[in-house]
Symmetry: C2
Subunit: 358 residues, 2 copies
Amino acid sequence: VKVGGVPYRSVWREGDRVAIVDQTLLPFEFSVARLDTLGQAAEAIRSMRVRGAPLIGATAAYGLVLAMREDASDAGLSAAARELLATRPTAVNLRWAVERMRARLSPLRADAREAAAWAEADAIAEEDVDLNRAIARHGLPLLREVAARKQRVNVLTHCNAGWLAAVDGGTALAPIYLAHDQGLDIHVWVDETRPRNQGLLTAWELAGHGVPNTLVADNAGGHLMQRGEVDLVIVGADRVSARGDVCNKIGTYLKALAARDCGVPFYAAVPGPTIDWNADDALRDIPIEQRDGTEVREVSGRLDGRRVRVGIGDPAMAVSNPAFDVTPARLVTGLITDRGVVPATAEGLSALHGENVA
Amino acid sequence: VKVGGVPYRSVWREGDRVAIVDQTLLPFEFSVARLDTLGQAAEAIRSMRVRGAPLIGATAAYGLVLAMREDASDAGLSAAARELLATRPTAVNLRWAVERMRARLSPLRADAREAAAWAEADAIAEEDVDLNRAIARHGLPLLREVAARKQRVNVLTHCNAGWLAAVDGGTALAPIYLAHDQGLDIHVWVDETRPRNQGLLTAWELAGHGVPNTLVADNAGGHLMQRGEVDLVIVGADRVSARGDVCNKIGTYLKALAARDCGVPFYAAVPGPTIDWNADDALRDIPIEQRDGTEVREVSGRLDGRRVRVGIGDPAMAVSNPAFDVTPARLVTGLITDRGVVPATAEGLSALHGENVA
């Protein structure tokens, strides 16, 4: 993607360093940070300087590269994998990337590991971009279908599943960008997505690409769907179970319920590495991250040109801050995968092990 | 209710002035404001210094008193009623109170109107407190029923329907306060309620009364219900149609959907003046207020001890800010009215025209 005319990704290799866009500063400030150590990579994931399931995976892969520079022994590899896996529990791309890196590096001699790690992490990043291109292509017909019967296509999305959440291109937003580029009149309702307000990242991304969008409070989506203002809901996913349950940013389930109640199709965009073949019933099998209550008690904003965090209530008040919820497969119209749009069922997903399905 | 040991209501007569708690300063600052003119009363309602359907009604009644001091002619009465009715379109208590005042004052000579207006507005305020006491009594058995089978009763509420939203006592919170006073172990999940964050008023109220409560983002309620963490949802209402559709703060519909999906009972607390006997299908018949986008673009908070409003995104971004939504009667387990708990149906509600039903 281009920002101010300059091509960017959300994570990239810069010589022997790793560069990221520091997303905790957005949408106020576009700033690139460099990661030189495993510790910095783990911190970037934990503090959500990088976030979004695919990007967490790619950053973890690069984190293992940095770890190999520090200690390429078997013990060093294990410890680094452990440290990265402990950063965030829900997005399965993290585990997928770490396991892929370990499988590649473990058989090698220690002194061959750093070079191989760079190559493998680069491959993970490149493949992620390809997966998202495929998701864009497969999702496009869903938008074209709406455009065939009405002027403007209104999509509602929750959280940020754009290029900032992936290496480039995005998952949920990928078909939207493609549709816009192909001249469809497409407008996006953007959920604010408290407590971290990732909706502001989405609004920033979409505006940067020229896609008309409107920010709404997380409470508004049901009302919009009741009034016929939403043609389609498309969200990303942090982990999808083998039977098609979608674990995604907290609040997604509420939108899926409203979509079902109002007859609005509800899709999740899901690259292969987001599927957890070991999870079946997501409510039972997928751990939900509980984050610090400060994220709810405080809000990031801009005051007199500077970025500040303000308290919105009593600092002593009790807060609960689950970061994800589960949308049961029964509420999901379909999964837009890199292999095609499939039903959110064990059968639909199992096809992804085989040939291209669409 | 007592604040710092001193008894308060949300609106009261103070000699020949009207006093209110300025709710735009809460939860940071508890401050009393005085209203001397119709214009001040209208502004207080419009800017949400006072909010909550019952309190809007009572404040409008007092606003007409102040108007009678300025111009007690028929033209003055009509103009004042028009000005107040234009402040906020959704809560029907406003119309109810204004019409009741007009019916009382219209037949009188102009010079008798001010005194009669004070008496009628005082009566409306007193009656509101009585209605809420009745709601507390009728709602209590619902909480006792849960307490009979488990230690702690977990209630989820949206927005603020406590004493701050009524003259005193509250609607949705009234049974909760009574249950707590009677020794039940009751805990409240408090939705933040973006964009105006009335959940922080609720958390402040509950804490002041010693009721354990936990603030959550609006996105979290579905997740909590999926996990069995909510025994009961109780919300207030801004207008209930004659067939039992509940128009309430934006986002209520999403919680009702989750409650239905998870088998959690969903109740609205509804004093008589909140029922609009002229509305049937709420989606068709009840106007939904669209408020300024600034409420979404900015957040009130506290920074270094002072109250500030911070921008959370691009000031130029498009925002939609509907203030209410409609929960269809089919999703409502029951209405806790001042006459008893009734089904959310035309038959259930019609009983309220007659004798006490519970």
